[in-house]
């Protein structure tokens, strides 16, 4: 049997409904796992974002680090809204944060391009014409 022949079966296994208890699934409307697992993911993302900002000197990496922190917050908003049963406030907030992150990226890229033009580098430790 060729390897390709097994592919449909593998895909079917991957896309199948995850095995969760029907009761838990009904309570959370299809969201699997518990609140604490979402908190763990968002906590890890937050720490990764902060670590990126602290260790990288490239302006684009620093901005990506802030995006990670924003997404960590988004996971929190959506998970709290879903598990807390508080309506759609959390989801709305997450959508707004996504939109703001896009706007911020547009502004950031314009400024970083200018910096590259003026300083020949986007290393944030090289831009030091202003200092005490």
């Amino acid at each position: 049997m060729s390897p390709l022949a097994a592919l449909p079966a593998m895909l079917a296994a991957v896309t199948a409904e995850p095995a969760v208890e029907p009761l838990a699934q009904a309570a959370t409307g299809g969201l699997v796992g518990s609140l604490s697992s979402y908190m763990v993911v968002s906590g890890v993302l937050f720490v990764l974002g902060v670590a990126t900002i602290l260790t990288r000197r490239n302006a684009l990496y620093v901005l990506m680090g802030t995006e990670l922190i924003l997404n960590a917050a988004n996971i929190n908003f959506v998970a709290f809204a879903r598990f807390g049963g508080h309506g759609i406030d959390g989801q709305m907030m997450a959508l707004v944060v996504v939109m703001l992150a896009a706007a911020e990226a547009a502004v950031a890229l314009a400024i970083v391009l200018r910096i590259f033009h003026d300083f020949g580098s986007i290393d944030i430790t090289r831009t030091d014409s202003l200092r005490d």
Partner: protein, 497 residues
């Protein structure tokens, strides 16, 4: 549309005026291009004037509560007046500023109006979603404005530093918001306050989350008001930005930051449900931050040679004084006493800082001087601007007969009433230190160098005249409120939360 909806839209009249002015200035720029410079400036100033006129509307027919997101109370009106009128003066400055002669000013005006719109919504909202949206409207425009001088490396660098630190601070703040949302399940500040009080009573685990969320949110607020230890962007950004933008950041942006901070602290932490050890702890933290901020700002300012950088450190120090008011708010004597002193002090700071930066810009326009060494004897060459600058510096120091003296007196009085004696002592010592560096500027203006009298204004035209007139008006107001401050104190008292 229902009448209630119309009434709610009517309450937004100042913001709608600003939005209309943004659209009109963009259209004027498209139609007239570089030739329409004065027209765009005039439209911007007119938009601000109309917004202020709507704001002053004494009929009081508008509802306070708008769309469930905005609270247009007296407090919001006070801060909107400061932010919007400050922006109007900055537009006047921007049109005459020599440093921007090679770059387009036509897009500058609508962006500045956009920041004013963001600031004015920011101080009016008690909902986290609206707070975040208006804060970013204020911030994203400010990042771009800081880098407006295209030919100037320092301006690009200021924009980058402001952007990187600002994006980081607001991301951390949003993470803090998400924790508050988790605790309370709602985005309204008052509901969050109840949820936080409940969580505080719930045991050590949830107390830890409350403390962490508060710390994360304070990072974002501390950045916006340039308080220690989130101040480090301020000197570089203030020095590198075009002077009108520096003025905006020191006045309108800082007022918006304090409006947001006060509303948040009041809504979340000072509700009826919240008393006791937690408030005491938070009050101590804010008092210590206040003392460190003012001391750091004042001591570092002594070492500066660039006047804009010196005023940046001075504005950090003043953020420390204003935080004294927040510390008093969280103490046992109650919210009103601290808020009263804070808002009065903010008004005096607004008058003096707006005026001082106007003078610094006039001197830069005329003599190209920004360093203390180049200021020597300039007071004799331009008597009006020199005298006004000294007056504003006297007010910033807090000496009579200026408004700054009354502001400091009320602030120290409130601090002593709250039992924070050590903070009042630190504040008084700081005022002495600030005397030293403010008078370094005055001494450079008058006591050294050659004297060569240059008569008349630097350039003719309606805008240079208006810019000078605004400096004169600010100077008169500084003296007026220093001698008879009842009117201002009355307005502040009627604007408390």
């Amino acid at each position: 549309m229902t009448p209630e909806l119309m009434a709610q839209i009517g309450a937004l009249a100042p913001e709608i005026s600003l939005t209309v002015a943004i659209v009109l200035t963009v259209i004027a720029d498209l139609v007239f291009g570089a030739r329409g410079r004065n027209l765009v400036g005039a439209l911007g100033v007119a938009g601000v004037a109309v917004a202020l006129w709507h704001l002053a509307d004494p009929a009081g027919t508008h509802p306070e509560r708008v769309f469930g997101l905005l609270q247009f109370d007296g407090f919001a009106r006070f801060f909107r007046a400061l932010i919007i009128s400050g922006t109007g003066v900055v537009i006047l400055h921007a049109v005459v500023f020599r440093g921007m002669e090679n770059v387009s000013r036509n897009e500058f005006v609508p962006m500045l109006l956009g920041t004013a719109l963001g600031g004015s919504l920011l101080v009016s909202t008690d909902h986290l979603l609206m707070l975040l949206l208006s804060l970013e409207l204020l911030s994203l425009n400010s990042y771009l404005l800081a880098g407006w001088q295209r030919k100037e490396r320092r301006s690009s660098e200021a924009a980058l530093k402001y952007l990187v630190y600002g994006a980081l601070a607001s991301a951390i703040m949003v993470f803090g918001f998400s924790l508050f949302f988790g605790l309370a399940g709602d985005l309204h500040l008052s509901v969050i306050g109840a949820g936080v009080a409940e969580a505080w009573a719930g045991g050590d685990g949830s107390r830890f989350v409350v403390i962490m969320a508060t710390a994360l949110v304070l990072v974002g607020f501390g950045f916006k008001i340039a308080a220690f230890p989130f101040h480090f962007w301020a000197p570089d950004v203030y020095e590198g930005s075009p002077t009108p933008v520096t003025t905006f950041l020191a006045v309108s942006s800082k007022a918006a930051g304090f409006g947001m901070l006060v509303r948040f602290v009041d809504g979340v932490f000072l509700g009826d449900a919240f008393v006791g050890e937690w408030m005491k702890g938070l009050g101590h933290v804010i008092a210590v931050l206040s003392a460190v901020t003012m001391t750091y700002g004042n001591v570092t300012a002594v070492l500066q040679r660039n006047v804009k950088r010196l005023l940046a450190y001075s504005s950090i120090a003043h953020a420390g004084y204003l935080l004294m008011g927040v510390a008093v708010m969280t103490s046992s004597v109650g919210v009103d006493s601290g808020l009263d002193a804070l808002m009065f002090y903010l008004a005096t700071y607004y008058l003096a800082t707006l005026g001082a930066f106007g003078c610094v810009m006039a001197i830069a326009n005329r003599f190209g001087a920004e360093d203390l060494d180049d200021y020597q004897g300039l007071g004799w060459s331009t008597p009006f601007i020199g005298a006004m600058l000294v007056l504003f510096l006297v007010s910033l120091t807090g000496l009579p007969p200026t408004a700054g003296f009354v502001g400091k007196l009320m602030l120290f009085q409130a601090t002593i009433d709250a039992g924070l004696y050590w903070l009042a002592v630190v504040g008084a010592l700081n005022a002495v230190v600030s005397l030293f560096y403010y008078f370094k500027i005055a001494r450079a203006l008058y006591l050294r160098g050659d004297t060569e009298f240059v008569a008349g204004l630097s350039s003719r035209g309606i805008f240079p005249f208006l810019a000078h007139a605004s400096v004169l008006a600010l100077g008169l107001a500084t003296v007026w409120y220093g001698l008879g401050f009842d009117g201002l104190a009355e307005w502040v008292r009627s604007s408390l939360l």
